[in-house]
Amino acid sequence: MADQLEHGQLSQMIRRATEEVFTTMLGVALKADEAHFEQSPPANFDGVVSFIGLAGAWAGTGSLCCSSKLACSLSSSFLMTELTVVDEQVLDAIGELTNMIIGNVKNEVEEYLGPMGLSIPTVIYGRNFGARSLGHDAWTVVPFWSGADRLDVKICLAPKERAAHEHGTRAREFILP
């Protein structure tokens, strides 16, 4: 087992997992765009964001984000029913898509970084909000296009000792005067 993973390898894993899920479960072909790093997610976001935790010798977070319109469209394809507003069905569908995509990425990542657990997904919907995970590592982001609408699938991973140290440092910054 290797103990590191390159950005290019991770972005290819994200691409494979996303394409497999969308082709198999939705019958939708997304167009992948060039992968990139993202240090801080956008501060003012409108739409749907999901998060799912990864934990093992390496720890981090996987995420999907897209507009409300695309979330409704993807959920409609997933459930084969017309959904035009973000409701419980849409949030649940996006959560499950996150679970499947990041879960399948995890299965490949484990061959390099060791066993990992996967949390239950959390899905957030709203307007003009920001979301971030603690830590200083960059996210590997793979954008996908469905027509003119964009879905970002992203993962941030760090060795647990380094992640714990950074979290501890940031906690101390908050607590100490």
Partner: protein
């Protein structure tokens, strides 16, 4: 003969999709019971009889492995075949489920043909 079955998954979307996929695979369905976790599933089994169970692994309250363990420890339920349907793909998890008595293991995402192949020998 129509099958009464239990689907255990914390995602309502997956529970709905699985029923649709079973229809597409031409599995004869009777009553389909749904549970969001192992606790709900055991409560249903105390009242209802099923011929087949599909269960996810990662669920809140009681996960699929804990549910499978309790199911197989109960004389009334241990003969009911259980197919695990999950994103967990590690050999360790597959082996653990098999050792606990799972009759099949299927990774998400899945197709109707994959579902049909898994349950052909169980119904």
């Amino acid at each position: 003969m129509p099958l009464d079955l239990l689907i255990v998954d914390d995602s309502a979307a997956i529970r709905k999709i699985l029923q649709r996929v079973l229809h597409q695979a031409e599995v004869p369905l009777g009553t389909v019971y749904e549970a969001g976790d192992g606790v709900e599933a055991l409560a249903i089994l105390k009242e209802k009889t099923v011929q087949l169970i599909f269960s996810d692994i990662n669920m809140p309250n009681m996960d699929g492995i804990q549910f499978l363990t309790q199911l197989k420890a109960n004389e009334a339920w241990k003969q009911v075949p259980v197919v695990m349907i999950t994103t967990e793909g590690s050999q360790a998890k597959v082996l653990e489920a098999a050792q606990l008595g799972a009759s099949g293991y299927l990774k998400k995402p899945f197709t109707p043909d994959q579902i049909k192949d898994k349950i052909v020998g169980l119904i």
